[in-house]
Subunit: 154 residues, 3 copies
């Protein structure tokens, strides 16, 4: 059976391409068995791979890929900053912000891209509570931003 | 003295009409005495009862009713997924997302509809921290989405 | 070495000017060593000091000042409601909502105003996970709203 890291790699997400930490905040803060992961945009090799509003500039289908990439980034950041993905005891909450035109009604479908990847990689412990909303704009013009709260085995 | 469930029923929120769980995420995740409840839209009998932007399509007063319905749904989901509402030790945080026209300045007043119901049903332990924001769009065109973090007695 | 409160005062944020609690929710809920602070807008002496959208009505630079004021308010509210700022064991998560025009791409830069103040006042324990998004509108037309989750020493 593949490790969780191997599953991510097989899906095309090399562990080494975890986004670098940025300026004035930390990618993860771990306290008392709970890890708070900072909002993540769809970085790939240091560039934001999906920018612009959904659905006028980016289709719902592509936005799902963007959400998947955000989730893969969060898992890779966890692995670099906290430890092996086997330490994920339970994903508690995932929140997705979609850079949306005011008429979008599918923010939840966009976020399925993130949810499915998390379930594929982590299995049962990837099962999470979730909120999905459409926002006016995101940092760097990203199409999606995803944050996560994770219970970590001590 | 009525139970918390009876109070909800008296207000018109039948316990049996808790929204069904949807696709790729869980309605609640409980870990170490803290329950994370997924973002909830104003479902009533399986339909979204309030759709469109506040205030152009839905008045602030109606949006308050939508927020109340979201809160009632969250409490009913808690009762179905976790246990009797007597297990609520303390509501920790309520976050409200209002599907807003860019000129709305009353997102906090909209969310009072949710806060008041929670206080009415749960009393002192319903007293919560809160954020209210106006977003560009919500899943299914819902007018309001509310999420909640709750401390649960062990 | 100045106390954390003295550092705030030196930066122009008098401890006595912490915003008053509002209506139907609490400024902070503390449970099991974790404090959830309600979303805070840039109140100064009872008035919202920065209103309107970023960047059309308020520049990114001024919005950074608004975010700093929100953060100062959160720390002052903590001091009034929970106890001395020495009780902050670790800032876990900061979420910033910027009242944004749809073309803003600098929500993260706006939030640096909040992050820098928190680091300046709290030092290492102020280092936090963060999300920044641009929303359609905020309560009272505020330009920025910031919420925070804090680990508190028992």
């Amino acid at each position: 059976m593949p490790t969780r890291e191997e599953t991510l790699e097989t899906r095309g997400y090399a562990m080494a391409d975890a986004p670098k930490p940025g300026g004035l905040y930390r990618p993860v803060v771990l306290h008392d068995g709970v890890a708070y992961l900072s909002g993540m945009v769809p970085f790939r090799s240091g560039e934001v791979a999906y920018t612009g509003k959904v659905p006028s500039a980016v289709s719902v289908e592509d936005a799902q890929k963007a959400a998947e990439l955000c989730a893969a980034n969060l898992l890779r950041v966890f692995a670099r900053e906290v430890g092996p993905l086997d330490m994920v005891e339970q994903v508690l909450k995932v929140t997705g912000f979609v850079n949306a035109d005011p008429n979008l009604t599918e923010a939840h479908l966009v976020m399925n891209g993130a949810s499915q990847l998390i379930l594929d990689v982590l299995g049962d412990v990837g099962s999470h509570a979730r909120s999905a909303v459409g926002v006016a704009t995101l940092p760097l013009g990203a199409s999606v931003e995803v944050e996560m709260i994770v219970a970590v085995s001590k």
